[in-house]
């Protein structure tokens, strides 16, 4: 009797310990698993939406047909949550084996030793012959290849044709100066408000500031990771925003806030908006129209003859340094980059494919043709891509967005905003 009670007591302690231990152990982590017949499961992570998730699923199904020993376990998150989660995983050393990646986080994770050096696989497991020579180096950080660009895109000006027709204003021809663009926006606003307005406040996009700097031969960051612009530059740029809002060309900041996570153009509040040229599908989905109802023209420029635009890797594929199956991961990357089948599945969802073999698989629809035509039309403005952004770029970009939103809401003055931005930037750059 007594013995039994003792046993029960010990049992309880044991159970408690077991619960505590099993709670912390990675028992539900399939990446450990070599399955019964040498089967390997790779974890894969990406951001996007359901449409992209279905495309990836089709691609993985095709991959598994070719490589029956490799299973892929994919997980989808929204952009912001995606990076929060990666940060935690990186700290714990359990990043997914293969990831969809963004240019702005290349340096941060590569410099901290979280990404796998792909050199041993280049030219063998990962074929790079078909990848455009202007895009491939965007996967490098300080001379080492950590990522393979999936596709490329260029900054563009989107116009909602149906809404423009309602306004009765002539279409914006593309190019021109930012001042011309502002006055065009104002004329659209006066025809449509308060239902809709000319367009998004273009001084809110860090990309517009970057292109504006590039047109003047400057850059966001220098080679040694210092700011490539002065307080005067930023003041001048944000003052263009003051003029835009005074002219009434921009969607009011409070309406833009309400529309989130849709952008003003996606919410049908603005006729025009600058964005990367692979956004047609997502804008069209937000608006509930066909992608051909959006036209793409060249964005305005601060200097007519400058090579201010550039081909940015829309996304890259990277492999985590902590992967237990680097060979299989490299195989998957090669398939996702080069397979014509993947090209057919994704279209331009991930930008215009970087690899020629994948491009060959494209089924060219009207909206894909529009993107190809657009990139050809601005070829004379395309220059060298900037270096992989500095560590902490995400924080700086967030700060830029929140300060320019505050400017639009009228809760901060340009001089204060500029000072706050530089304080934050200096803090991040150390």
């Amino acid at each position: 009797m007594r013995l039994r009670k003792k046993a029960a007591t010990l049992g309880c302690i044991g159970l408690g310990l077991l619960m505590a231990v099993s709670g912390c152990s990675p028992s539900n982590d399939p990446s450990d698993g070599l399955g019964p017949d040498g089967e390997v499961t790779l974890n894969f992570a990406f951001w996007g939406n359901d449409a992209r998730a279905q495309m990836y699923q089709q691609a993985f199904d095709a991959f598994t047909v070719e490589n029956p020993q490799i299973k892929v376990n994919a997980s989808l998150l929204s952009w912001a949550d995606y990076w929060d989660k990666r940060k935690i995983e990186a700290a714990g050393g359990n990043l997914p084996d293969v990831m969809q990646w963004d240019y702005q986080y290349m340096r941060e994770y590569a410099a901290n030793g979280k990404l796998l050096d792909l050199a041993p696989y280049l030219g063998s497991t990962i074929v790079t012959d078909g990848i455009s020579s202007s895009l491939l180096p965007t996967g490098e950080v300080d001379g080492t290849q950590f990522g393979i660009p999936i596709g490329g895109n260029t900054y563009a000006l989107f116009i909602n044709s149906a809404l423009l027709k309602d306004s009765g204003v002539d279409a914006y021809p593309g190019g021109g100066t930012w001042e011309q663009y502002t006055s065009w926006l104002a004329s659209v606003s006066s025809a449509l408000q308060p239902v809709a307005y000319g367009g998004a406040d273009w001084t809110r996009n860090l990309e517009n500031f970057q292109h504006w700097l590039r047109a003047q031969g400057k850059s966001l960051f220098t080679e040694d990771g210092k700011p490539g612009f002065t307080k005067e530059d930023l003041t001048a740029f944000w003052n263009l925003g003051v003029a835009l809002r005074e002219a009434g060309g921009a969607v009011p900041a409070d309406r833009a806030e309400e529309a989130l996570p849709k952008s003003p153009l996606g919410a049908g509040l603005g006729v025009a908006e600058t964005q990367w040229d692979n956004f047609s599908a997502s804008f069209a989905a937000d608006l509930g129209v066909d992608a051909t109802d959006l036209s793409i023209v060249a964005p305005p420029t601060a200097a007519a003859s400058a090579r201010d635009l550039y081909m940015k890797p829309s996304m890259l594929h990277v492999i985590a340094k902590n992967t237990k199956h680097p060979d299989q991961a490299a195989k998957l990357v090669d398939f996702l980059i080069n397979s014509p089948q993947v090209g057919e599945i994704f279209g331009t969802n991930r930008g215009l494919p970087a690899s020629q073999t994948q491009r060959d698989g494209l089924v060219v629809s009207a909206s894909i043709q529009a993107m190809i035509d657009y990139e050809a039309s601005v070829a004379f403005r395309i220059g060298e891509p900037p270096l992989a952004p500095v560590v902490g770029y995400g924080t700086i970009a967030t700060k830029y967005l929140s300060l320019s939103t505050d400017l639009g809401l009228g809760v901060v003055k340009v001089t204060d905003a500029v000072n706050q931005f530089f304080d934050e930037m200096n803090q991040v750059l150390g």
């Binding site: 007594r2 009670k5 029960a8 007591t9 010990l10 309880c12 302690i13 159970l15 408690g16 310990l17 619960m19 505590a20 912390c24 912001a80 990076w83 929060d84 940060k87 935690i88 990186a90 700290a91 941060e108 901290n112 979280k114 900041a253 409070d254 309406r255 833009a256 806030e257 309400e258 989130l260 996570p261 902490g392 995400g394 924080t395 967030t398 967005l401 929140s402 939103t405 505050d406 809401l409 009228g410 809760v411 901060v412 706050q420 304080d423 803090q427 991040v428």
Partner: protein, 317 residues
């Protein structure tokens, strides 16, 4: 207070030990055995991380490289260089200072009404309590956002009365009031506690007051409020702590940005963004500990002042 209780408990158990029967001993052991999972959780998942974050508050830690000791630099930066923090602290305090009293008054008012209703009080109690159960959920935050947008139900209803202010979600001056309304709407939990408190007040006190010629207002002031002061104190403390913890609803309503103009950038959201989006874990820990200290000071002040305004029935004074 709790410390005293613990000390008292220890003294009792020590003096009782020699006389403890074998049965008592075994039961004590079994008791501890059952406590083991909880103790592991407390030390491993609560106390450990808390002490770690206290250490991190004095470091610069980006989650990639080991933390570097920086002394009080994080705290200096908070108060001298970070305007976003000052704004964040200010909106959080506004929310606490205005939201909590309004919520408690609403809870008390409804509790008083329900206390009088004879028929169907069970139904009304459930109906008023329901928002507390779902109020912190993601779906309600989404609904709230839709309700207070331009041309949403609130805008439409107000325009009917000739008030054209548009949506509240993007308005700098209306964002905090909108959050206060969401908080007040969840008055069910304090209401139920008030109701229980009201039921405890002996009816003879009201009878005696009535004999002395006290009206409804005088009865409320001189009988209900003093008799309820213990419950008011409890609710006040609890709701202040809750108000500091609001996170999910501001995160969703502002899409994680804390906009418009930082008015929804409540302190919890700000420290989350600093820690997990910006990778400034040391700085985020410093903010977290500052919140702990502020809440602790407020609680201490409340406890200190409670001697003067909180009365317990049958207490000798």
């Amino acid at each position: 207070m709790t410390e005293r209780a613990v000390r008292l408990g220890r003294r009792v158990s020590r003096s009782a030990r020699p006389h403890m029967s074998a049965l008592r001993k075994r039961e004590t052991k079994a008791g501890y055995a059952f406590l083991v999972p909880w103790l592991i959780g407390f030390f491993g998942l609560t106390l450990g991380p808390m002490l770690m974050s206290l250490y991190l508050a004095f470091t610069r830690y980006d989650l990639f490289s080991p933390p570097q000791w920086v002394g009080f630099a994080n705290f200096v930066r908070l108060f001298t260089a970070d305007k976003v923090f000052l704004r964040s602290a200010s909106v959080t305090l506004q929310y606490v200072a205005f939201g909590t009293p309004i919520k408690l008054m609403a809870a008390l008012a409804v509790a008083l009404m329900l206390n009088r209703i004879r028929r169907g009080s069970g139904f009304f109690r459930s109906a008023f309590y329901a928002p507390s159960l779902i109020g912190a959920s993601v779906s309600i935050a989404i609904v709230w956002r839709a309700m207070f947008s331009t041309n949403g139900p609130v805008d439409t209803a107000l325009s009917f009365f000739g008030i054209n202010i548009g949506g509240w979600v993007g308005k700098v001056n209306l964002a905090v009031p909108m959050m206060i309304l969401l908080g007040v709407w969840q008055f069910g939990a304090p209401m139920v506690i008030f109701l229980a408190g009201l039921k405890q007040i002996p009816q003879e006190l009201y009878e005696a007051a009535e004999m002395d010629g006290a009206g409804v207002v005088a009865q409320f002031r001189h009988v209900t409020v003093p008799m309820l002061s213990g419950v008011i104190f409890f609710n006040l403390l609890l709701e202040i702590v809750h108000a500091f913890q609001v996170f999910g609803s501001v995160f969703i309503i502002s899409n994680g940005t804390g906009s418009p103009g930082g008015r929804l950038n409540f302190i919890t959201l700000y420290l989350y963004k600093r820690g997990f989006a910006d990778g400034q874990m040391g700085y985020a820990s410093a903010i977290a500990w500052l919140v702990v200290v502020v809440v602790a000071v407020i609680a201490a002040v409340l406890f200190k002042s409670s001697g003067r305004w909180v009365h317990y029935y049958g207490e000798d004074r």
